[in-house]
């Protein structure tokens, strides 16, 4: 049993330190028999806003070598419709549901959090921020979700805001942190796809193996140091990757859009993580972020 919200009155206990990342798994029923949800620790929903949102027009994905960028504008049917369509499904799940909210306006976040609090088996709110959200605004959004929602609040930190936001939000009462949301990136567009010649670059959220070395760095610098549990997210593509994140102090891992290529990845990681914790390899050659740095130990 892993407790992801030790400071919260209800807590957020999960059996297996594994869940899909927001945006990678839909609302729970999309993969049907391809994924055994009962083997996961929790599911995280696609991003949801209070009001419905439509998709952006134009190119929404660009693939180049081992990476891809996605730019959709986070379309979703809005909080009420999601509850109507998926509330019953969630109630039947044997694992907790974590609802991911697009954190835009405090009033909207507050109302959405209140709505989802009343849905059986919704056990936490994860907030996604814009990359430009100030510290002050991020705390307001977390507070809005926590006060109105009564549920543990997890903050998914923008890729390049960890040093700035993670310790700050942890001190200001967030229950857990997801490190990190995908970075923005620009990819040259391979001209062999559906619309040759239209665009040479695509911009969007970056997915792929590229993120993993940077995720490990973030974890090695922060996971042990922060006073709240850290959920690792970014480029995890194998059971070994998941174990590496736990070894560096993550309390759990999220598998992002790489699972579209291989939905069975979730089951394979679940099996690897079900082995006893003592079997995880130990960190040897890595500086703990709390230790002073010297020529010898960096």
């Amino acid at each position: 049993m892993i407790e992801l919200a030790p400071n919260h009155k209800y807590g957020l206990a999960i059996d297996v330190p594994l869940m899909p990342a927001s945006g990678a798994f839909g609302y729970g029923d999309a993969y049907g028999d391809l994924v055994d949800i009962s083997g996961l620790g929790a599911i995280v929903t696609n991003p949801i806003s209070l009001q419905p949102r439509q998709a952006t027009q134009g190119r929404r994905i660009a693939v180049h070598e081992d990476s891809f960028v996605v730019h959709t504008g986070w379309p979703n049917p809005g909080a009420r419709r999601v509850i109507r369509d998926y509330g019953a499904t969630w109630e039947r799940l044997t694992v907790p549901v974590i609802v991911h909210l697009l954190a835009n306006h405090t009033s909207e976040v507050a109302r959405a959090a209140a709505l989802f609090s009343a849905v059986p088996n919704v056990r936490a709110i994860e907030l996604g921020f814009t990359a430009a959200a100030s510290r002050k605004r991020a705390v307001e959004l977390v507070t809005a979700a926590a006060v109105e929602g009564d549920l543990p609040v997890i903050a998914q930190i923008p890729f390049d805001r960890v040093d700035d936001l993670a310790p700050y939000l942890a001190r200001q009462g967030v229950d857990a942190l997801t490190l990190t949301a995908p970075p923005r990136a620009v990819l040259p567009v391979d001209e062999n796809g559906e619309d040759p010649g239209v665009a040479r670059f695509g911009r969007g959220r970056l997915y792929g193996r590229a993120l993993f070395p940077l995720l490990l760095n973030t974890l090695s610098r922060w996971a042990v140091k922060l006073p709240v549990p850290v959920i690792a997210c970014g480029g995890i593509a194998s059971p070994d990757d998941a174990l590496a994140c736990l070894t560096l102090g993550a309390a759990a891992v999220q598998v992002d859009a790489l699972l579209w290529r291989d939905p069975s990845l979730l089951d394979r990681i679940a099996r690897a993580l079900a082995k006893p914790r003592a079997a995880y390899p130990a960190v040897t050659h890595l500086l703990s972020p709390n230790e002073p740095e010297t020529e010898e130990n960096v």
Binding site: A30, A55, P75, G193, L258, R261
Partner: protein, 234 residues
Amino acid sequence: MDQAPEAGEFMLADLGGPVREALFPSTPVGDGFDTVVPPGHGATRLLPGATVDMLGPLGRGFRLAPTGYPIARLLLIAGAESLPLLGPLFQAAPSVVLVVEAATRAQLPPPNRFPPTVELTLVTRDGSAGYLGPLEAEGAAPAGLERAHTRLVELVAWAERICVAHDPSRYPALAALVKRVRLQPHADLAQAIVRVPMPCGAGVCDVCRVATPRGERRACVDGPVFDLLDFLPE
């Protein structure tokens, strides 16, 4: 593969990239299928005999008729580039008429590529061969040319099913044409396929959203074959 995809359905293939790619059947072959991919596509780098991991069949394909009610007269309408998507339908009814539109003569497919039972109607937008396009344009034709529209109206009136594979920007006008000719077209009388990137194939990623006047649909689970009338302007 447990099952081969039918017309308009697709397989999600792992071709070595970070996301899967949708492969549509162009010709059923035994238990499997042939597929047509653009030049430079990842699949062209596969060696003969290579094993490809695929998920599927996925999506809603073309729906010809409920079992026990076979149709006799099938109209297929394709842009030259999208033509392979209709390949599995070339022999789907006793009487099949195929309308193919291209920009110019050189882009039309060679007529010997089709089974003899398919009646071919060729259209070029510059009038260099066959009827003069675009399909939905009315009005008098320049001397020596005949408008495709006149012929298309006849065929739409004749058909029991209409299956379209073309540039989706043409679907509103084609839907309007069907609506004008058939007045009360029943659901699924005319169907149209939309080809967009579908990285997840499971309704998860929202990359494949298709805007219609009746709201957004996801190509991978709500389509890729839609009722053409979903595209009818409000």
